[in-house]
Symmetry: C2
Subunit: 436 residues, 2 copies
């Protein structure tokens, strides 16, 4: 079950939505069984795209950065879910160290950190913030827009333990995606829980590993529900030796774009879909919407301008792109807002442990239904709990209002489950201890 949130669509239920609602008991039971076998990540957020004929995740973030965009009414759900997670991971926990991203000037991001710290404190944990920034040499207060203050403190490594001055945490929660690599100070911590594990960071993580795991999960789920897995799963392919600057790997890219487009065309023919197929080319280790390109024809990738090549070359932390994923594009036919705020929207679903705890729309007024919305100019619109009917006497049966957000919660949880499988598959093999 997922909270009943008010989505942008208000027409009749789409076929997938209807199917999921009808099969809710089977679906929930299936999830329960899956979570017996796979440990959910501590938290995660999933970008979904709803094309009507297809509802699929296009990105899965293991270091969610928008808890502050959730409606305030979701706080109790976050706290309760976090309590369950803490219970399982370390019931004895007293202190938790939260390590945020290094951008101390991004007040929106820091508001997210404040929100995470808040719900964790409400589970009864003592929470303090340790910064990876070399500039933080003493406890440094940062004032937020809402008047509250975050205290960033320098990390202190003590043998195989990490802490702060006078603060020995039992667990370390990363909200830093480690794009810049795994810092020395985080390596070889063998007594403390690091959540999510280090290999979840973009230093090691690859989108293609995630979507390979999602393939498995989506196929199993499609069998359960009797749908074509394609309805919830975007095709993808990978090119591993690309250098946009040096125009290296363009043939691989063109061939893969062609191949994925052809697969999509086949499905569109099969289901008599009139839209124009497209793919999205993304850095396989990229995030923040950087290094992303929409492509409708293979010729586009061989004829990139210098400006386009520059844009595709660099992702967060100035890292060079060398491996790219070519992912089927999923149109977003949801629009929210009015006036200058009106635009194409994609739902972002937030999860803690195995629970959906809220969501919001990422909206971009200047982008089309086949474009990446994670770009400057986007804004966020919190999803609120749906009230089945504003005039109670107009609806005789309160159970009758279908929870159309349910389908979003199902697909988001499939991605969360795929992340569990992905992290299992990519976990580093522990070096055996040398014999004494």
């Amino acid at each position: 079950m997922v909270p009943h949130l008010k989505t942008a669509l208000d027409g009749p239920l789409l076929e997938i939505e209807r199917r999921f609602l009808d099969l809710m008991p089977e679906i929930e039971r299936w999830f329960r069984a899956q979570w017996q076998e796979h440990t959910p990540p501590f938290y995660g957020s999933v970008d979904l795209r709803n094309a009507g004929f297809k509802l699929a995740p296009v990105d899965m973030n293991l270091f969610p950065g928008g808890f502050n965009n959730l409606d305030a009414t979701f706080l109790p759900l976050c706290v309760q879910a976090a309590m369950t997670a803490v219970d399982r991971i370390c019931p004895d926990a007293r202190r938790l160290l939260l390590i945020p991203e290094n951008h101390t000037r991004n007040l929106f991001y820091l508001q997210n950190v404040a929100q995470i710290a808040k719900f964790l404190r409400l589970t009864g944990l003592e929470v303090r913030l340790g910064s990876l920034l070399p500039g933080i040499e003493r406890p440094t207060p940062v004032e937020l827009a809402d008047g509250t203050t975050l205290l960033l403190e320098p990390l202190q490594r003590n043998g195989s333990r990490l802490g702060l001055g006078g603060f020995e945490p039992c667990a370390i929660l990363l909200n830093n995606d480690l794009s810049a690599g795994i810092p020395e100070v985080l390596r070889d911590l063998d007594e403390q829980f690091v959540l999510p594990p280090l290999h979840a960071g973009w230093a090691l993580r690859r989108k293609s590993n995630h979507f390979a795991a999602y393939d498995t999960v989506a196929s199993d789920f499609a069998r359960l529900t009797g749908i074509d897995a394609w309805r919830i799963n975007p095709y993808f392919s990978v090119c591993s030796s690309v250098n946009f600057h040096q125009r290296q790997g363009e043939e691989c890219l063109a061939a893969n774009v062609d191949a994925v487009l052809e697969l999509i065309r086949e499905k569109y023919r099969q289901y008599e879909i009139e839209e124009t197929p497209y793919v999205v080319v993304k850095a396989d280790a990229g995030t923040y919407g950087m290094g992303v390109m929409t492509v409708k024809d293979a010729a586009q990738v061989t004829g990139l301008s210098r400006r386009q090549r520059n844009k595709m070359s660099v992702i967060k932390e100035g890292l060079a792109v060398s491996q790219v994923i070519i992912q089927e594009g999923v149109h977003s036919f949801e629009r929210v807002g009015s006036g200058s705020e009106e635009g194409v929207a994609e739902p972002v679903v937030y999860m803690i442990d195995r629970f959906v705890v809220g969501g919001f729309y990422r909206v971009h007024s200047g982008r089309g239904p086949d474009e990446n919305l994670n770009a400057p100019g986007m804004h966020f619109q919190p999803l609120a709990f749906a009230t089945s009917c504003s005039l109670p006497d107009h609806c005789q049966n309160p159970d009758a209002a279908p929870n159309r957000f349910y389908a979003y919660g199902v697909v988001a949880r499939l991605a969360q489950l795929a992340a569990s499988v992905e992290l299992e598959r990519t976990a580093p093999v522990k070096e055996p201890l040398p014999c004494a």
Copy 2:
């Protein structure tokens, strides 16, 4: 952590509240450890009384009857908590049989049943209602005030399994307190989970066992928090051979009333409390506020009028009272409402598994602060989530608004924990199977 609800009190925090908020990390950690050792009941509700100098549970219900009195915004919390409970009890569950009380004409009560069925269905379970009423011989729809319909179905016993026509549940959830005894049809079900267990029903349960377990829990908790356990624990005593009709056991009653009053007087002297001590005499197996009497002097119980004796003799299902508990009375200094709705109030806190999922005030306009409010004429006022401040710029620090409902959630969870201990202590010893 408990949801941040708006309580009736709005003065400065009382000493106990302050202490609990200050010690939140220790308290939550302690609860986590306790729930590792004790399995929480599936659900429960606790009647609290807040005298300012004392905040204590006076009753603990293992078959909560007021889920319909919770504000609608609590539904997602109920669902999430129930998912955790189902996960632990039977992750493989698909179907659940809910057995309600037999009063099919009490539409308020049936609305509670509908609410329980609703949140259970939202966890993905198929839920149907089986009735213990002999009159229910075929599926019988009952229309509720909100226009929805409950379908009551006759129970079908099949060997050691219980179900309905075409419905084989994996778990059976009782919302029937079994005051009338344990029906044959529920005995010796050895393959299905019965929640709560049969000995939680009033056929076997005794308030005195609960409060004996609460003694243990409250003492441990008082040590943890450095408070006098009396601040959260009412004195009590038991008389086991009472027959009000035949005026039997009056001496025992008088002696125990005297003894408990003397203990209270001592505490009042110690803490310089000016109120008049009183005790509440209740049937030890009673519920529904029946068989309850407020006593300020032992002479009262030896000089009962025929009418008073009749009133004390009979509890739910017409059962005769034979054992009574003499419990320290806790004044309620909370008042809510306005006009004719204004009255003395006591908080009722609802829990599922180990989570506080909501609460409401039981209000009685015609009763005093030292009287039982569970009586005809009472009404219910849902507790809503507290919004820290209506004008955001008036409060620079949103974390600063203390959650005074927290203390209520703590004491309610102590009672929930005591119920776990009570059910462990009173569990019937399984007969060993005879050798073949």
